[in-house]
């Protein structure tokens, strides 16, 4: 009798300690990741000190990037990254939200499932493949048909002025759009799935058509989640290196025209790191990396917060 109780207690204790070890391990892992991140930021900061000391704020306002003269201003890259990503998002958002609405609200269930699987497949294609397609297929097409048309017909707008090069800001915008649509669509779909049936029924019972139902309940209910999806897409677009490098033309200039080549922060790092001979040059690249890292972190945290709010809201509202 006594022995029996003892073994049972021993078992309980053993289980508890197993749990304890497991929990401990996960905590250690979590903190390791955080520590690695902080170390990375610190390391990059240290490496970029020479550039920080030499240029200060002029680094982010300077327009000249010349390794020979050791003069480094990152504005063309910041400009290129911001414009290409924001425009890509601008085009991708309606497309993605529309696709997600089609999958969740309009297509028959099975067909929606197929579309959704295809979209997720697109997200899994390596970016170098997108880049290859972009430079071999899309850029020549842009150069021969789209860009001449734009500069002839709409050339009076500065945005569409200039010689068609093919590789250009426009090409980067398109390639980024194609790359972020799957991500935004997939996350938006998840968000839309959290809209309660009772909400949709409320609208339909009032005599709403399907589109009115979407406008009345689905979109307002999913608002912050969709915003989170878009911002996550922005994070992805800003960090995208390979495909953009292949199609944007890699020219450090600030041009209003979408038809001109441009340059982005990740692209310049990828292109110049191996050949950076002077300490200051590699330090300048490091500083660009640091800016990129911090911006991407902020964007992702913001997006996660919004999406976290959605999953927390689930089940609370009717």
């Amino acid at each position: 009798m006594l022995q029996e109780t003892d073994t049972r207690r021993w078992q309980i204790e053993k289980k508890l300690s197993g749990d304890f070890v497991f929990k401990g391990l996960t905590v250690v892992f979590a903190f390791t990741i955080l520590a690695i991140l902080l170390l990375m930021v610190e390391e990059m900061h240290r490496e970029s000190l020479p550039a920080l000391a030499k240029f200060g704020w002029r680094f982010v306002t300077g327009r000249e990037w010349d390794a020979v003269q050791s003069s480094f201003g990152a504005l063309p890259f910041i400009w290129g990254s911001v414009i290409s990503s924001v425009l890509a998002l601008f085009l991708a958002t309606p497309l993605s939200v529309g696709t997600a609405l089609f999958i969740t609200e309009i297509a028959p269930q099975r067909f929606g499932g197929v579309v959704s699987a295809l979209v997720e497949l697109l997200a899994a294609i390596p970016s170098v493949i997108y880049g290859l397609w972009g430079v071999l297929v899309m850029a020549p097409w842009l150069q021969q048909s789209v860009e001449p048309f734009l500069s002839e017909r709409l050339g009076f707008i500065p945005v569409f002025q200039g010689t068609p090069y093919g590789v250009s800001m426009l090409a980067a915008v398109f390639i980024l759009m194609i790359m972020v649509v799957p991500i935004i669509t997939a996350i938006t779909r998840e968000v839309l799935l959290t809209v309660p049936q009772s909400q949709k029924e409320a609208a339909v019972a009032l005599g709403a058509t399907r589109w009115e139902m979407i406008r009345m309940t689905v979109l307002p209910y999913g608002r912050s989640g969709i915003l989170g999806a878009v911002i996550l897409g922005l994070g992805r677009a800003i960090g995208e290196t390979m495909a953009v490098t292949m199609v944007i033309g890699n020219t450090p200039q600030i041009s209003l025209s979408l038809l001109s080549p441009a340059y982005t922060m990740p692209s310049v790092i990828a292109n110049e790191f191996a050949e950076a001979s002077s300490k200051l040059h590699s330090s300048a690249l490091m500083e660009i990396g640091l800016i990129l890292l911090v911006v991407t972190l902020i964007i992702n945290i913001l997006a996660r917060l919004l999406l976290w709010g959605v999953s927390r809201q689930r089940g609370r509202t009717p």
Binding site: E201, A202, V204, A205, L206, G207, E212, Y221
Partner: protein, 252 residues
Amino acid sequence: MNHKVLLYSLNVHFGATHAVKGVTLAFPENSVTAIIGPSGCGKSTVLRAINRMHDLTPGARVSGSIALDGTNIYANNVDPVAIRRRIGMVFQKPNPFPAMSIYDNVISGYKLNGRIRRDDADEVVESSLKRVALWDEVKDRLRANAMELSGGQQQRLCIARTIAVKPEVILMDEPCSALDPIATMKIEELIEELKEKYTIIIVTHNMQQAARVSDVTAFFYLGELVECGDTPMIFTKPEKRQTEDYITGRFG
């Protein structure tokens, strides 16, 4: 009395489940009909057939006919959206739109008619809220979020939202089951008043409630209509044994 809604050999299937079996039943105009019966007997399914809510459920099949003022609402040339504007519905759990204010909730269905004038909207909101006896409680905070209201207030808001559309029939699926006794009493009083203008069909699992608010009661069991008659008759001298067993609490 005139028959507003008439079910004729109504069958509803969900895949292989035969949820409603050959129901023929008339709902008199400007009165309250209660649908009672044990859980799972098909009460909600019957109700949701009346405003074509099953159109939204993949795999649901409705056969037979439902006439609204003599016109079959399942006929091919009938627009379900138009039907739902004439037959409103109030759900079990209050479901105001959480992203909208009280005002916007009330006007949300009415607005579907097209562009409306501002003072016109104000008037619809006020009269609808007065009808559900919510006006005095919310008139100073019409722009507040609807989720700030209590459960009972939310349910009355949902009724206001429904009557703002000016329907002829109001379907209610256990509208008080998520509410406390005082809120329940308010809704019951409201039903009493609403029947002057509307035909009301209410599903309830609460027999006292059916006895209190309804003029006619229909008892369902296992997807079939067992018995239908004037409420006092059903509760005092039911014809069928099953009905008697149910209302005396011997099962369900």
